[in-house]
Symmetry: none
DNA sequence: CACTGGAAAATGCCGC
DNA sequence: GCGGCATTTTCCAGTG
């Protein structure tokens, strides 16, 4: 067994090809993640608050439906807990 | 450039630029994730068991990571013992 | 060496005691984390949206100063990006 | 307020109960974290190097985790190969 | 006291 | 559709 021309080795080659393609893509993806971190770092270096920036990015990434859904549920939950208004200045 | 004359928008352009760069990279990253999914799907279509494939990918990744991990643990120990540098003629 | 009554073994005992106390506390802490997860699961089982619940918990956990600070920065950033109003129905 | 008979508040009480349980547990957890800090401080006061102590704690934790980790990795393999149960007389 | 790194939490994904 | 797993993100403690 393990002869070059039998069916096992053929699938083996194919499998290896798939695995390596995946690994390559994963590396690329990780590199991009690093880039994103760098951009945030750069923004921070320019005086921006990255925490707030992340919220903004998330907001923009949500589509309208999602956003409304979450907002209205939040309102309902807040109301149920009596957290409705800004008037809780003890 | 970036006419600062309006105090509100002092860093608005810059902020926008950062945000858009981030969004662009996130899109790229998402695209790659999709590619990875496609590869798995393709492999599945060729009769491979994706579950096993994922294990293999993970294992190879850990093997590679483990080497570095060991190194860095050594570094921690050295640091804790004040042996940071190769020359310990303090 | 390693005689019971020399200074080394005394510190050794003391060190062991410290370490074990720490480990005990860490376990307790982990157990509580698990409990929290369970509560969320239970809430989910009762039809609540845990994602929204987590936002609520976070909001309540923030003190007023923090909350106002974050909110006002968000407004500033949104304004800088022209995300001010709900009137972006393209 | 928060009268049971108001349909809006149907689950308000329940929600409040969940939230408060969570907040309570979070406080307990934070208290334990403080305790851990205190123990380190105490050890430091007794002449121990907390940096080294942390390494030891981490190491012991990893050793323990590693046993379980290996077990669970085995489980994954078994599952992937359809060997889930101890009796494979299918 | 800001930064970095590592732990913990949250989100999304896959398989059942 | 749900539960569990993997990844990603967030947070926090330690460090310089």
């Amino acid at each position: 067994m393990t002869f070059p021309s039998n069916s096992d080795s053929v699938s083996g080659e194919q499998l290896r090809a798939f695995i390596e393609r995946i690994e390559r893509m994963q590396e690329e993806r990780a590199a991009i993640s690093d880039d994103i971190k760098e951009i945030y770092a750069e923004a921070k270096g320019n005086g921006f608050d990255t925490k707030v920036m992340r919220i903004i990015v998330k907001e923009r990434g949500m589509d309208r439906a999602e956003r409304l859904e979450t907002e209205s549920l939040l309102d309902i939950y807040r109301a149920a807990l009596g957290m409705s208004g800004p008037i809780d200045d003890e």
